[in-house]
Subunit: 417 residues, 2 copies
């Protein structure tokens, strides 16, 4: 039996205490540590004050084997984590040449002047093991002190996450004997959480004790996360594969991918394989669908372009929507969405055209077309399919949901090609 | 002089530690307490274990005058906050008739059977002052113990917020003589944190002790937060205004707004005021700029549409970029970006056209045009300005940064209109 490794997560920064930013880092860190079998026993946030930081470090030392600290590593006066760690460990700072080289190249690449404040970012506590931050100038640091591991990371989420994934988590699993924890994610779309739960209930109830299921709902989709805990790597992989095989027949139509697959990546892969090109006509989503498609590196292989037609003039001139259609049925109608999808396909000369038109909100709703009334369409050489979405009253959500539903519609149509 | 009232916020629940939910309560509570002049000195999260809760309560007692506790008040077995508070205060439970009446009516209204578990929700620690929760069955509680105030609230956000707004905050302002704390946020863009710091160093060093400065960096911008503490509302406002007036001349060109202003909202407001219409031509940003512009409700008043020209064919056909320009200088060139910005303005018939073209990465870089080489342009009836950005190697960041730089360029051009 392996004894539990206990972790404490500390965030540093007045802005967190004063509520000027919502801390999403510690939830993410909590998930990742849990995934490698480390138990988070406490989360603490303190301000940018030396004594407050020292106090929380001393407390954490009593409770935890691993202490993860984020924030307060910026180049400016209010960032005091580093010098406070020096006080805590009773060491001085040493300029780290590796870190300096990185900061220097970071500025050279951007053709920018480097200041002493920037150089000072390469000064690390003498007992620090340098953890390279590929995404910024604030270095990550690993300390071993009185049998505990201390990790100091920048508070900028994408820098912190990159450091955790690529440097810290692997080093932690190497440093501690933690149980093996394996995950398998099944990504579904177009089915609600409760319906999904009902459909797979029997399978879920039959899961062995060491395999747990979690429902992770996100915009337009629900991720099923299987977590298996044990000590035999290959056995766990085998057991997870077995469970996936069992559940798939129940949900095939709604599964668009596994693990890290994103809908836009899956669709892009399909388009590439089938050698098809895509054009997009966006009204209410205002460019969001295109941005999602082009998030994927190499999307230029299948994505030719989009026409965002916020004004009806653009719908008519650039997409060839008939003025009388707009007059008779309005911009938010099956007739219009059909012409938009077909229009963009013809204008841009692509194999496939997809389109959105609706009332994203918060205003612009009418009794017969309330906010959240949104049409989507996908036009191929064979046919044009349309669908009416009845979404909620929140603009951001309506835009993101519409985009995901449309990409899933595209996925289904491409599968038929 | 009023001595500062110090608060600690404690959240209880394993799901927070394991990252299954992101805690938004404490950020909200932090803002509200700050607004009534109570200084949050610590935030802590612990799991659903008696000893962990007792420990954090004892620690908080050392540090804070007010301890706000959320979570663990549900009817189920794993909700142990109430009985742990009894242990902590050394009291027993007493059934509160007011609370019982509320729970009862809550169930009657819904025509649901009431269980002993539900009735037990009306059992409060003997020293509790009952704080009615109008939105649920878990009561709020106020305790005074050894000169501290303890508040226990349900973790459900809307129940917690309702209790805070209507019961707790008013009682706190009555109970304590609190100082007034005022914030002023200055939002800058297009200048790095360290450069900003150097430029305003003299001003920063000259700030009076009761006015603190914080740097809050985000994509392409840095927010400067001034926090003033005192006793005279109007005096503080005046002092903050004074400091803003002093620092502005040093950074005017980089300031796009204050407090909650977002760059896309500020630009939109300017376009509306000046009665100007906008068209966008996007290559490497793939629709992101348009999506950012249309995030703003009512953006249809000034935004007509975009052409996302990922393929050169679209650049030529829809934007009127000369084929020979693409051949001679390539898609990522000053010549092309100029024609894209002018092209979209003419094609869509808008007053202003903005454009992006570059190598977002991760691939597609060349020795003379490495990943991160991105051109942006803004074309008005008077002129077309262009700018070359040299960004990093990460696609998402390049796209977001480009969008923010372009919107700032647009802002500057609109100001000249």
């Amino acid at each position: 039996m392996i004894n539990t490794i206990r972790a404490e997560v500390i965030t540093i920064g007045d802005e967190i205490l004063f509520g000027q930013i919502t801390d999403t880092n510690t939830a993410w860190i909590g998930t990742e540590l849990t995934n490698i079998g480390i138990r988070v026993v406490r989360k603490s946030s303190v301000g940018d004050q030396v004594d407050a930081i020292l106090q929380v470090l001393h407390e954490a030392h009593q409770r935890a084997d691993v202490i993860i600290i984020t924030g307060g590593l910026g180049p400016t006066k209010d960032d005091i984590t580093k010098k406070t760690l020096c006080t805590y460990f009773g060491v001085g700072v040493v300029r780290n040449e590796e870190a300096l080289a990185l900061v220097t190249s970071f500025f050279e690449k951007r053709g920018r002047e480097m200041t002493d404040l920037n150089r000072a970012q390469a000064d690390l506590p003498a007992n620090a093991i340098y953890m390279q931050n590929d995404w910024g100038t604030a270095p990550g640091m690993w300390f071993e002190y009185e049998g505990r591991v201390y990790v100091s990371l920048p508070g900028v989420p994408f820098e912190m996450k990159h450091l955790m994934m690529n440097r810290i988590l692997p080093k932690l699993t190497g440093h501690f004997k933690t149980p093996i924890i394996k995950h398998k994610m099944i990504r579904t779309i177009g089915i609600g959480e409760s319906f999904l739960a009902e459909r797979i209930e029997a399978w879920e109830d039959a899961l062995p004790d060491h395999i747990k299921l979690a429902y992770l709902p996100s915009f337009g989709g629900v991720k099923l996360r299987l977590t298996a805990t044990g000590e035999d790597n290959t056995l766990l992989d085998h057991e997870l594969a077995e469970q996936v095989e069992k559940v798939m027949p129940l949900i095939t139509k709604n599964v668009y991918g596994f693990d890290d697959d994103e809908i836009e990546t899956v669709v892009g892969q399909l388009l590439k394989e089938k050698n098809l090109t895509l054009g997009i006509a966006e009204s209410c989503t205002g460019g969001y669908v295109s941005a999602q498609i082009t998030k994927v590196p190499g999307s230029s292989a299948y994505f030719w372009g989009s026409i965002v037609s916020y004004s009806n003039t653009v719908k008519v001139r650039q997409l060839g929507v008939k003025p009388e259609t707009l007059e008779l049925f309005g911009a938010v109608s099956e007739e219009t969405i059909q012409q938009m999808a077909e229009g963009v396909r013809k204008t841009l000369g692509t194999n496939i055209g997809i389109a959105t038109s609706g009332i994203a909100g918060p205003d612009g709703g009418t009794p017969d077309k309330p906010v959240g009334t949104i049409w989507i369409a996908c036009s191929t050489e064979q046919r044009t399919v349309t669908r009416l979405l009845k979404l909620g009253k929140y603009r951001d959500q309506n835009i993101q949901l519409t985009s995901n539903y449309l990409l899933n519609m595209l996925r289904e149509e491409v599968l038929n090609q």
